[in-house]
């Protein structure tokens, strides 16, 4: 866990693995949203 007052610059410059996983999931959710809502699909949503 990171601390709010931790002023040390983290030694690891790479993006954490969980951020990459969340990023991929976020893209999947966004694509699903576009398909289901804006394209008018989904279970009788619109």
């Amino acid at each position: 866990m990171a601390g709010p007052s931790g002023l040390e610059v983290p030694a690891d410059n790479g993006t954490p693995r969980w951020v990459k996983v969340f990023g991929v999931l976020a893209i999947i959710v966004l694509v699903a949203f576009v398909i289901l809502h804006l394209a008018g699909g989904g279970p009788r949503g619109h």
Partner: protein
């Protein structure tokens, strides 16, 4: 600008209250959706879909906007910042996304209410599984946001790294 502890606690209380209220409201909508789909009583089914739109305007929308607003205030008023840590960034994205979808979904609530209010509409055409699906997905999203807020996983953005370096440089002078 860093908030004094008293203001920070007040803002945090408001944020937690709004977020918990939002999740509770969605849970109630999930129950309404299940009732609308499963009940054999036509009046109850129509009533469930009729009440969704006004209830969403009175409960879901205010809590969603309050949660978003208080979350931004807290992040900007503490050393966490809004764009410095990935977990804060993801929470913001989840909150904005869920609020936008909710506002867009208000139109669907209106359409479902119009069908439910039409006496010539059959019960099958009144029933709609869409609120159940949206409530489950919304609860999952807000659960993820809650987990992020509690665990605060490690990870600083490029902007956050620059800010930390600036702060360290100033502190050394």
């Amino acid at each position: 600008m860093i908030m004094p502890p008293l203001w920070r606690k007040f803002a945090l209380t408001a944020h937690v209250t709004a977020s918990v209220g939002w999740m509770g409201g969605i849970a109630a909508f999930l129950a309404l959706g299940i009732i609308g789909v499963t009940t054999e009583n036509a009046q109850v089914a129509r009533g469930a879909y009729l009440v969704m739109e006004p209830a969403a305007w009175w409960v879901l929308v205010p809590f969603a906007i309050a949660s978003l607003f208080t979350g931004i205030v807290i992040s900007l008023g503490t050393t966490w910042g809004l764009f410095r840590h990935y977990w804060v960034l993801f929470k913001l994205a989840i909150n904005v996304f869920a609020t936008v979808v909710l506002l867009e979904y208000m139109q669907t609530f209106r359409q479902m209410a119009a069908v439910a209010a039409d006496p010539s509409a059959t019960l099958d055409s009144v029933r709609n599984p869409s609120p159940i699906l949206h409530a489950v997905l919304a609860l999952l999203l807000l659960l993820v946001a809650t987990v992020l807020a509690i665990y605060k996983p490690r990870g600083v953005t490029a902007y956050g790294r620059r800010k930390l370096l600036q702060h360290r440089t100033v502190a050394q002078r």
